[in-house]
Amino acid sequence: MTRRVIYGIWLLLALSIASLWAGNYGLGPVIVTQEWQYNIVLRLGTPVRVIEEPGVSFRLPIVESVLMRDKRLQYLGVEPSEMIVGNETLLVDYFAVWKITDPLAFSRRYQNVNAAQRVIRARLQSRVSDKISSLPLDQILARADVLGDIAVDATEALGQTGVAVIDLRISRTDIPKQNEEATFNQMREQRLAIAREHRARGEREAREIRAKAEREARTLLAQASSQAEITRGEGDAEAAGIYAASYSADPEFFAFVRSLQAYRATIDEDTTLVLSPEHDFFDYFRSSGADR
């Protein structure tokens, strides 16, 4: 009796564990829905319920089958393609992040995620090229989320099929290889101009610095010169003052002495003096003055 009980418990346990285990893999009478899954239960091909929350549920074997759909965020990468922006061609590379919001609607429309990717990509392509050609280059370069409203539109359009496009973003833009050289030329030109500007500025400022120095120098000299004149003047004035002070002690005597000096200085070999015998000099020539 005990044996049967033990057998019985054992069997029950084994079966439960086995079915739970199998349920993790989508087999057996037990459905274990994982965190990242939606499970759609079909009874004889007709969907009867959609399991969106993780946990354990049951299904009737044979009549009921389970379809699993991915709840996670999906990545859609798009090959870089040439697009016209303004008057340039660019290789634009973008990616999308989307998810299944309504697994039932999704499954009705798409066989699997790959199929859905193809459809989504197709729907996005033309919209993206149009949007990009309508924008100025600097916006496309500086903002990756310019495609954001396409994502919103796409979500609306695809909402019926249970797809939500969460994000659409430019991953990069490149200049096509054949046009690179043109850009390089432009860059070289630009650098050349900058280099020229630097050198020109250098010369210009050097000239200015020197000119300024010259001006300063001239001013310095002019000031010094005028100051020198003033100093000389002071010297002259002081001297004159000293002379005057001294000579005015006896102006007449000064006139006398000074005149004598002048005669000495001016009368030379080339001068002819016509003297009268009455001249003072000859006083003692005429007579010895002994009888005076």
Binding site: T183, R188, A206, E216, I242, T271
Partner: protein
Amino acid sequence: MAEASDTPRRIRSGAARAVTNGLLILVTLGLLVGWASTGLYRLELGEAAIIMRLGAFDRIERREGWSWHLPEPLEFDVPVNVAEIRSVSFGLDEGNRPSMSDDGARERRGGEEGTFSRFVQTADNNIVSVSYELQYSVRNPFTFVFGMVEPDRILHDATQSSLRQVIGGKGVDDVLIFEKQKIERESKKILQEVIAEYSALILAEETPAEQPVDPEFDERSPFNIDKISLQTVHPPAQVRGAFEDVKAAQQDEDRAKSRARGDAREIIERARAEAAELEEGSQAYKQARVLESRGEAQRFSALLDEYRRAPDVTRRRLHLETMEVVLARAEKMVVDPSASSVIPIFSERGQMSRPAVSAPPRDATPGEAARASEGEKP
């Protein structure tokens, strides 16, 4: 007779039953233990385990070493390395710095047929070559494992997008020289915002609209973005020469200016020296004049004193001395005022060569004498 043989059989089957029962119990226990042991798991250092119960997220265990959860299939453990700093490189091969020559080279991206180029456009129609590295670790192990289908590709493209966007908004000089760190910061910020945007929608039906979460600390984010670091940023090899020339031109500019400054200093120094000379000269002149005048004045005063002591004598003397000198030098004619025509009386000088200037008068002072012989004006 039949009874006697029954007992041993009964005993044997009883014993056999006991043994089989025992065996059964042992086996059952063994299986139970075996089953229970599926709940054992071990975490290495730096790992955390996501414990799933019947398909649903239950908890995260972080205790390193051996732990136990309910046996499978009730609970499953998913270990995740949360401590490791993971890196994604863009434009770097195996951690080596890329050489300038393979700038335009396009590498394969993650196994796909895509191409990766290090060239990025700047806001002013220039191209720069950049290589960079993203470093991140796992923040929320659950969303990391169960949130996205291809988390590494999403991260890769989102990083690339953020960096390219930042560079696309700056000018080439900013990118190459001035704002490298700013670029790293800004692109990290954008990346965090993008990831936060995605995390909000992981496993949630609607976008939660309570308070906006700071992307730096968003708990739901699968990634903890550590940093984006620029490894190399330089102009493409094809235009390197032109960029180098700009540097050379800058140096030329600086050199020209510094040479000019040197010259300027020289010019001013020379002018100062000249000015000093002028000043000195004028001071010397002034001094000389004053001294001279003082000397002269002294001399005159002395003479005046002498004169005052004996006026007539002094006058006479001075006069005669002067006449002596002067008349010795000059051509003379003594003419009687009453004569109506000039008859030279002292005319022997006529054709004879002139004598040298006469010897200084005996009573003259040396100064006077010197003046007389040089004929200098005072």
